[in-house]
């Protein structure tokens, strides 16, 4: 396998082609599509980023985090605040111009970075804890972030933050979908990724092999939070309005359900589960208008319980979708490696 170098052209060209295809789709088709369906496609993309990044923490590193929505809200609020600030200071800048796009991207990056820093700060003390304690403490942090946002008046507090410039669109959302999948995929092929896996499989053995488990966990946590922040930023600049109520623990549970359904430790599983659950949510919305009852969370939770009782590894377990398709070339590779 000579194409392992992350920034080597050989490693990247497939991913670049995928991004290019998405942009072509964006430029050619996006205006002609039914806006409702288009909305669903965008939200599916954002959910993919969230699910894949949470999978890095919950699936690959085996640390059960329940506060992903908190990091998403940090990224969303931070980037939205920054773009609003910039476009209010310089009203002359066209949001669609190259400068507007650059500002948007750097705001997104800052949002992600802010989320990553908070993920680092959260992770450092709490990742020494295990299993259930970690779950509760991340849940607690998510709630604390929400309560703090509720109390900051400059970003709207409980009223929410309206008037965010419309900057994210299909092209950017799916660029970041590809980037996040690419990052996690390449990472898991690298020694760092192997360290993540070793922490999941057996912490004591990993430590004996010289893996600094706390550091590894915090890394996974910060990277997961980074992409959650990016997803939050994309979400904010698409919906154009943020409300802290949208980032409560139901949102975190929703992302967890995607990860668990797809299989903890399977990137393609997360992608498929994210798309599936976003679509089913809209389908159930029509049912809800018909029956006036919200079935969505009942079905989600039942799915979670039944999944754990009958197929605890989710749809794909730790495998990827192409492991189920017999490809001769890939199996040869595996033998050599």
């Amino acid at each position: 396998m000579n194409d392992v170098t992350v920034f080597g052209i050989k490693a990247c060209w497939k991913w670049v082609v995928v991004i290019a295809i998405f942009w072509t789709f964006h430029l050619l088709v996006s205006d002609r599509l039914n806006p409702y369906i288009f909305d669903i496609i965008i939200y599916a993309g954002i959910n993919i980023i969230l699910a894949v990044s949470l999978n890095l923490v919950n699936g690959f590193t085996g640390q059960f985090s329940m506060g992903h929505a908190g990091f998403m809200s940090i990224g969303g609020y931070l980037s939205a605040y920054l773009t609003m600030l910039v476009f209010n200071l310089f009203p002359g800048i066209d949001t669609q111009s190259i400068y507007g796009t650059l500002f948007f991207l750097s705001a997104l990056f800052c949002g992600g970075l802010g989320a990553a820093v908070s993920g680092y700060l959260v992770g450092l003390p709490s990742l020494r804890l295990k299993g259930d304690y970690l779950a509760i403490i991340t849940l607690g942090f998510g709630e604390i972030i929400r309560v703090i946002i509720l109390n900051i008046e400059t970003i709207g507090g409980a009223r929410g933050l309206p008037g965010i410039p419309a900057l994210s669109h299909f092209g950017w959302v799916y660029t970041f979908v590809v980037l996040s999948i690419f990052t996690v995929w390449r990472l898991m092929q690298s020694p760092h990724g192997r360290a993540f896996l070793s922490v999941r499989e057996d912490e004591v053995a990993a430590e004996a092999m010289g893996v600094n488990t706390t550091k590894t966990k915090v890394r996974a946590f910060a990277l997961g939070a980074f992409f959650a922040g990016i997803a939050g930023g994309l979400f904010a600049h698409y919906l154009l309005y943020l409300n802290p109520q949208g980032f409560d623990f139901n949102k975190s549970f929703e992302i967890i359900i995607m990860v668990v359904l797809g299989g903890m430790g399977s990137i393609s599983g997360s992608v498929i589960a994210a798309v599936f659950l976003t679509a089913i949510r809209e389908a159930l919305r029509e049912l809800q208008q018909f029956t006036q009852i919200d079935f969505r969370m009942v079905i989600y939770s039942l799915m979670l319980i039944i999944l754990m009782l009958t197929r605890p590894n989710g749809l794909f377990g730790t495998k990827e979708i192409f492991h189920f398709i017999p490809l001769r070339r890939r199996s040869l590779h595996d033998v050599k490696a």
Partner: protein, 300 residues
Amino acid sequence: MLEFTQHIINGLSLGSIYALIALGYTMVFGILQLINFAHGDVFMLGAFIGMYSSRYFALDRNPSLGSLFIALGCAMIGCAAIGFCIEKLAYRPLRKSPRINILITAVGVSLFLEFSGQLLFGADPKFFPEIYKPSVNWSIGELVINPLQMIVLATALILMMVLQFIIFKTRLGRAMRAVSFSHEYASLMGIATDKIISSTFMLGSALAGAAGVLVGLVYPKVEPLMGVMPGLKAFVSAVLGGIGNVTGAAVGAITLGLAEEFLVGYWASTYRDALAFGILILILIFKPTGIFGVERIEKV
């Protein structure tokens, strides 16, 4: 000073409600090393059972201590049955699977109870009937004591004493302690561990049900999501007192109730829900075993 005493009384009554819920957490954790996320929702169901049973028996027509006991009894029996079912259907099949799967199941059960509660009862808050109406307000000097809060405190204390009796003076309690020590050895000694675990769930759930009725008495608003926050806070109290420790849970809950009351009274009421998690984080960083907890050596 008057205000201070008032806050102490409020904090004690709030804390005793948290204590009743926290006991269920701590008992289940002690015996299964499992955080029963659904416990807060059992508390919610207790409030609803209390509400519907007092409507069914028309208990608000002659409010008295007797009616309160009927509602309490219904809620406790109902919740014990619910706790039994949860353990039997959701947790028992997973007894041997990895911890994370059980954790996910617990989260799933919790969400299921919350949202099927929304389906069954409707998402809007319901009014809890007045099943006990104090005739006079007790007062010492200028200090006015709400008798309801005293009733809550007394009921909680009595229930906790009963629990203490069950755990330390009965055969069932001895078996529970044995199972929490080691499942295998307990079953070698002829203890039916599954039955003991079931009854632990039932005991804990009954206490949560009682807490539900008591909350309905003091804050007469009942809704399907009311169990989430008290549930999490009760869990924090259990950790604060040293999870697995019954006395610790009660002490932790009273501490948390008082801390919350003082925060709301003297500083910032909007940070109320953040306080519990802040305490949890500090405790887990500095003394993960809690106030009364014993250090456990992790075996490889």
